[in-house]
Structures are given as C-alpha cells and as structure tokens.
Symmetry: C2
Subunit: 338 residues, 2 copies
Amino acid sequence: MNIGEIARRAGVSRSTVSYALTGKRPVSEETKRRIQAVIDELGYRPNASARALKEGRTRTIGLVIPPASQRLTDMQLGFVASVVDAAARADLDVLLSPSGGEHDRSFERVVTGRRVDGVILMEIRLEDDRVARLQQLGLPFVGIGRTRHPEDMSWVDVDYETLIAKCVHHLADLGHRQLALVNRSAELVAAGYGPGHRAQSGFDRAIAERGLRGVRVCCADDAQAGQSCLEQLLTEHPGLTAIATINEAAVSGMYRGLAEAGLSVPGDFSIAGVAARHWAENLHPPLTAADVPADELGARAVELLIQRVADPGTPQHHLLVAPPISLRGSTGPARPRD
Amino acid sequence: MNIGEIARRAGVSRSTVSYALTGKRPVSEETKRRIQAVIDELGYRPNASARALKEGRTRTIGLVIPPASQRLTDMQLGFVASVVDAAARADLDVLLSPSGGEHDRSFERVVTGRRVDGVILMEIRLEDDRVARLQQLGLPFVGIGRTRHPEDMSWVDVDYETLIAKCVHHLADLGHRQLALVNRSAELVAAGYGPGHRAQSGFDRAIAERGLRGVRVCCADDAQAGQSCLEQLLTEHPGLTAIATINEAAVSGMYRGLAEAGLSVPGDFSIAGVAARHWAENLHPPLTAADVPADELGARAVELLIQRVADPGTPQHHLLVAPPISLRGSTGPARPRD
DNA sequence: TTGTAAGCGTTATCAG
DNA sequence: CTGATAACGCTTACAA
C-alpha cells in the first residue's frame, strides 16, 4: 500500500495526496474528503523510510544508555523514562543504543547512516570518546551529564559537587565530625565518571571548610556491596558517625550493615545523599537526600535536542541543577560511637 | 556524503561500491582496497533510510514497553535489557514504544509506516488490542507474555500458574496451613493482566489440592504498598503464616511490615514468590523464589522474531518456562501465630 | 570483473 | 486548486 495506490483510487495525483496529508498546499475540501476516505479504508500510512530519505530527517532520536548488562540504577531508569516520554509527546521515536565500551557497533550504527536526527547521551565520562565522535560527525546531541570541558556541547546535569558539599554541611550542622563519602564503583570512578569525581571535590571542599575528618570509598552499585563497604568503614574508622553518598543502590545494604552492627539510623548514625526521590522515599528509614528531578532533566534534554536539530547554529545550552535536600528520617544529631 | 561520491573518488561505478560493501558479488582485491581507502578517509556509511527503502526492511525491531511513567519492575527491566542486548548482538536496532493505553500514538507510529521489521510486545493482557492490531497489520511479532487464546501468536512466557502452585506446595510442605497470595495492583489485574490471573488460578488450585485456607489480595508495585498490605493481612487473618507473591517490588515492604509487627522471617512467617534473581538475592533475608530467566526469555523472543521476519510462514512457537524454586532464607517451618 | 539503469515511496518544484 | 516529474541514496537485475 503506497501513496500511488491511494492517488489512483481517489482519482487524483500522488502530489495531491501528499499535500492533503501534510497540509503544505491548499487542497479543496471535497478532494481532501475523498482522499481521506480511501486512506481510512485501506489503512494507509506513509512509508517512513521513503519520507526520511526525501526529507532528510528521520523524526527519530537516539538514546545512548549504559550497557544494558550492568543494571541501570533507579535514577538512570528515571532519565530513560522521562526522555522516552518527552520524545513521545513531541511525536519522536526513540532508538536505543546500549553502549559504553570503547569500540561499539551499536553506537556506531545509531550515530552514522542518518538513522537519527540527534542523540541524547547518558552517563558521560570526563573524557568521553563518544562526545568527540558526535562532534566530529556534526550530529546534534545533548548530554545528560558533561565532560571535563563541556563548553562546546549542550547538556543538563546534576550538580553533584554542590549537593555532596551540602550534605556534608548538613551533617556537620548536626554535629558530625568524622564523615565518609560512599562513591560509586571504583571502576566507574577510575574510568573518569564525572559525578564520582565531582562528588569527591565537593566532599573534600566541604570537609576542609568545616575542619572535619573525611574518608572516601568506592562501592559497587548493589546492596551487598553497600553492606560490606559499611562493615569495613566501621572497623577501620571507629569514630565515623555519618555518610554522604551518591550510590543510591548501595544504601539499603548500608542500612543493613548498620543494623547488624547494632547501630540505629538516625540515632547512632546518619546518612545523606543524592538519589531519585522514589528510591529515597522507599528506603527505611527514608533517605535524607537531594531529589534528582529526572523528569525535568530528561524533558529539558529532549527540548534542547529538538532545538539543536531544528537549528544547529543555535548556541549551546547548559542546565546545572542543584535541588534542595529533602530532610527525611536518615539524618539526626551526632552521638559519638567510641 | 553518498555512495556516488565514493564511487567517483575511487574511479568505479556506484554498484561496485555497493557490492564491495555487501560482498554480494565478487570484487577484485585491488578495487576493493581502493574503495575501502576512500570510505575510510571520508568516513562514509550507507544511508539507512535509502537502504531500508530499497530493501524493504529496516534492520530495526520495535520494543513495546509499559508506559514509562509507571516505573518498570526489576523483572521488566531485565526483559528490556536482554532484548536490547540480543538485538545488538544480531546487529539490529531497537525502537522503543512506551504504550499501554488503548489509543496510542507512539504504538501506531512504530507499527505502521514500515518503521520496524517486527515487534516484541511486553506486558500483554488476556485480551489485548495491540495483539489484534499487529495481527491485522500482518506485522511479525513475538509476545513476552500471552493472551487468553495465544495459539495464533508466538510468545515466550513465565508459567506463573505452575510457579505459584509450587510455592504453595513448598509452603504447605513446611506446615503452613493458612496462606495469602499477594498479587500485583488491583488495576492491573482488573485490566486482565495475564500473570495476575494465572497466579490466582495456580494459587486456588494448590490451596484446594492441599486443603488449605487461602486469601488473595492485590498490592501496588512498591514497598510502601507492600507494608500496608501486609499490616492489613495480619490484622484480618490472625492465623496467616505464609505468603506467595508475584509482586517483587512489594516484598521489601512486606518484610518491613512483618518486622514492625515483631515477626521474624522465616522464624515466624514465610514468603515465597516469583522474582528476578538479582532482586531476590538482594532482599534481606534473600527471597525463596522461582528465578525468572529474563535473559533467556528476552534472547529467545528476539530469536523467534528474527525467524518470523525472515519467514513469516514459519509456524508459531511457544515457550513456557517454569524455573525451579531457589530455596533461600525467606521460608521455614510453620510456627502458629495465634 | 565491472558498468548501466530501473525503481523503492516520498516530497517539492515547476507548470497549468 | 491540481498534475507531471525530478530528485533523495541505495540495491540489483541485466549487459558487457
């Protein structure tokens, strides 16, 4: 079923059908009706490949996510959901590319061959080959996250540095003097994962400003790692009474480790962090945390991308958000342990 | 940059470049080298739309997921991950469509207009409009899940009926006499969500076979709902000592509710269910559960789809899996409560 | 071993 | 207000 068939049956030319569909040229009510009738009867929809070939755009955006094999965090999932939602609202389709490694077929397929009009890139590293590749290709893209020198790209990001510093100040205000930063996995941080590094800077800065003692550790993205990480922290740092973290997936394990060490939260120990609201609220006790507005960030990223696709000459936009810390049940006044 | 430009610079015809690329006709080593050199230099990749238009296939599959706004469960996420992975291995791209409602633009866009070669459909209802639509369109598709009368479609599915029955038998063997089934949300079940209904049948059957007392409740997909659901169950059914569930997201809340009622797991109360292994293992105590092999199911679904795309006349395949129940720490001998 | 040319289904330009 | 026709970039008979 193609446009020619519709035209034939409606007794008009192909161009008239096309114009009736797109409205880019006036078509008399009468013919419009006749054409629509045939279309409805046969269930015709224009061939997307032909249209893309002719128009030079696909009405599709690429979404590059971390390799699917390693589980997505709740926050990452929130980004994916909001991007997909926002794209759907703008009548755009989303082509998924699970890629993170260096030489990646899926990524190459999606970004070359005019398969998409633009790309949203998640989980960006401080130095990121994919960013360089996209810039080289001249394909419009927007980062959820940013590189070390992000001036020449559009991005939206969470201000981990500020937020972790705020967590430290909040804990210091509560009287905590010895704090730990629980980061994400060592591999991720070693690979130059931006949030990991920026959280460290924020932590170091705030620790210094308040004259506290601080220790930084990495931890894999799951509850079991959180538990063993916490056990180790407790034995190695007897004076520790509080944790700041960006590792939402590990928090329930940390709670468990504390419980098994006979420490209550927030009575004996406090934890504050950066997390998806849904996740923070579902922990027990609910986590005092800066709630990452994944919905807003994803939607904004799509907006920026649409803009760049429409006019690649448009200036780069940057959106750095530092949501307020929601006080919940996981932080309280310090009570010395030793 | 197009194939004509490559041909011109390599001093050959467009067809030769095409054949050098696809290997569908012998090309002399010498010209092949020369062509490749030009391609490498200019970074040429064939235009996907043009190729799709000519070949009549897009090398892309659609993946229809539940509306992104409502959070995906860990198991659903596992399916998405494995489908995306398997597709990537087969050099297929994945177009995402978040749709569940009745009249859905995103779904229509993806399944019409020759945008994809086939579709994988998740979260299928007993009566599902989308299945009917796909059959009407004649677009190859494979379900992860199945309708009430699933003979005339290909699908892979988890045998919830058998698995929940097995859970009941396991709990009965441990001496439990009064059991509850915690289903997924009431809306989902009311909408004809297959696993919900099939779990009920399995539960009823096993309860009858063993002469037990059983009660069935629905529960939203989150920890807080799990907790309040459990509190209600405990007050309304004082003799209850065990739960079978397919609601993995609610389990941690049920644990919490039990703990706050002063009941230990598995000392005072047992829970068994169907869940993603990762999820079951990360609970505390780890959940005795049939571990849904999402990886295998997703990969098989992609395989089946590839087959159907290659030859639409191929017979429909059905794969119903009932993995063994992994005994973990959440079930133990019954100890009467009242 | 290579080249020529038709055609996939659209949209847009140019005529009428 | 409408029709013919030329692209868009590719693959693939058919010829040489």
